[in-house]
């Protein structure tokens, strides 16, 4: 298994080349002054107005030396740089609370919410940024692929379940790559994969170009609402497998039923601690009434992000692995 940043760069190179250009010059210099071995461990940069800039490396917090206090002018400039001076082009992203920058790095935003007819219209007075450094783990799906392949060339309908930050998207991305490229050891040929990537996190597209290795037979519908995206993919790209991230709304469940009934395999992720928890979610309940999912992969942080707690045969409830895998 190799922890790899798009383009094969180290984390510090990725931060220098792709993240720092989006920060104000003084902050850029402050972070660039940190030792390379520290930057290589960073997976998140947190900026909060009038508080010190913090870099997260696992559970450790790293501070530039001397500490850099992030001002409101810095916040304005950071927003302009992240939005490439074009806030109008990121209106939908602002409404969702994040912007994806080149390299697939996701910048979460907080500030004052503007409501329109009771719904979030946009964010203003942005006061906090959380920059998550994108990375892909090639081989993250090595342990699960043999349980998901349905010979000769299909995948079981699969739901990947975990609380946030346990590696759902990383696993889904690698399943997409392996399904697309094929797995010779399982005699599984590469199949057409359609990815409905609403939050630009699976393929991390920048101006339509995937920034991660998601396979040669993979078609990505970027920034499209999942429910519409899955149906559009079936109509336009005739995929063998459709993949999407973080299902949870009623229209997602309806679209999933459409996909499954169209003879197309589906692999999706959902927030939850167990299969029972997800099955109790009102919007998703209908998907478990007719045993539509055939496999469920449960992830946790028990032995670090990406720990596979169980791979369940949903029909029988049998766990297909003897113990946690990582």
């Amino acid at each position: 298994m190799s922890n790899k940043h798009p383009g094969g760069k180290s984390a510090s190179d990725v931060i220098m080349d792709e993240v720092l250009p989006h920060l104000p010059p003084a902050l850029r210099a402050s972070i660039a002054g940190l030792p390379k071995e520290q930057l290589d461990r960073v997976h998140e940069i947190r900026l909060r107005t009038w508080r010190p800039v913090t870099l997260m490396a696992g559970d450790d917090e790293i501070y530039p030396n001397p500490p850099y206090v992030f001002t409101d002018d810095d916040a304005l400039m950071t927003l302009q740089l992240i939005a490439c001076g074009s806030l109008y082009a990121f209106e939908d992203d602002l409404r969702q609370g994040y912007i994806t920058i080149r390299g697939g790095h996701r910048v979460g935003l907080v500030g004052r919410v503007v409501l329109l007819k009771g719904r979030v219209a946009t964010l203003k007075d942005i006061s906090g940024f959380c920059i998550r450094i994108a990375h892909e783990v090639l081989g993250a799906a090595d342990n699960v692929m043999k349980h998901l392949v349905k010979p000769p060339r299909r995948l079981y309908h699969t739901l990947i379940i975990s609380p946030p930050r346990c590696g759902k998207t990383t696993l889904l991305r690698d399943i997409a790559r392996q399904a697309s490229e094929g797995v010779p050891s399982l005699n599984f040929p590469g199949v057409r994969v359609g990815v409905a990537d609403e939050r630009s996190e699976i393929a991390a597209c920048y101006i339509g170009v995937p920034q991660t290795t998601c396979g040669t037979r993979t078609d990505v519908l970027d920034a499209c609402p999942k429910a519409e995206g899955m149906i559009m993919l079936i109509r336009s790209m005739s995929p063998d497998v459709v993949m999407t991230d973080e299902i949870g709304r009623e229209d997602d469940a309806l679209a999933i039923r459409e996909v499954m009934c169209a003879g197309v395999s589906l692999v999706a992720t959902a927030h939850g601690g167990s299969l029972e928890e997800v099955a109790r979610r009102p919007a998703l309940k209908c998907l478990f009434e007719g045993d539509m999912f055939e496999r469920a992969v449960i992830l946790s942080q028990a032995h670090g992000p990406g720990t596979i707690e169980a791979i369940l045969d949903v029909g029988t409830g049998k766990n297909m692995i003897s113990g946690p895998l990582r």
């Binding site: 250009p21 400039m77 302009q80 740089l81 939005a83 490439c84 001076g85 074009s86 806030l87 109008y88 082009a89 209106e91 946009t122």
Partner: protein, 171 residues
């Protein structure tokens, strides 16, 4: 015979000079028209494709050597470099190009006013600002075109008349 030939040459050359000066007056309306076209293309890029500003300005620039092309391209490069905010980049581009253009201070002020909110508001507001600057430039263009027709006619007649007077004096 020589005198007659000389007189024809004098009248002809001063007529040509009058025409050259007259054609100079049609530059401003032409440049304003190019700017209006550029803003129309920019509007499409923003409203339909939501193209980021730097890319949108490059696509809307039209001919590279035109005044509109220079302003749009310069602003695009500065925005892409990240050295200045979009508003500052636009102001720099307008101020750099203004001295080599046929635009007046009235046109320049309309362009500078447009840069104030560039890139820092919603697409609806951005389109409103584009519509506003286009209206102002269109009004300026109509005035400039009327003035150009009057002034150009005057210079053409003046060229021929002065030529004829010189020929008479020399004859």
């Amino acid at each position: 015979m020589v005198k007659l030939l000389g007189a024809v040459l004098v009248v002809g050359s001063s007529g040509v000079i009058g025409n050259v000066v007259a054609s100079g007056y049609s530059e401003r309306p032409r440049q304003l028209s190019e700017l209006i076209s550029g803003f129309t293309l920019l509007e499409t890029e923003i409203s339909y494709a939501k193209t980021p500003l730097s890319e949108a300005l490059m696509r809307a620039r039209g001919q590279k050597c035109s005044v509109a092309g220079r302003i749009f391209e310069t602003a695009s490069h500065i925005i892409a470099s990240g050295d200045q905010s979009p508003g500052q980049a636009w102001e720099t581009a307008v101020r750099c190009t203004y001295p080599v253009s046929a635009l007046t201070s009235e046109d320049r002020d309309a362009l500078l006013a447009f840069g104030g909110k560039l890139g820092s508001c919603s697409s609806t507001d951005q389109l409103r600002h584009i519509a506003l600057v286009r209206e102002r430039l269109r009004a300026n263009e109509v005035k400039a075109r009327d003035k150009a027709i009057e002034t150009a006619r005057m210079w053409r007649y003046l060229g021929l008349t002065v030529g004829a007077m010189i020929a008479l004096m020399l004859y």
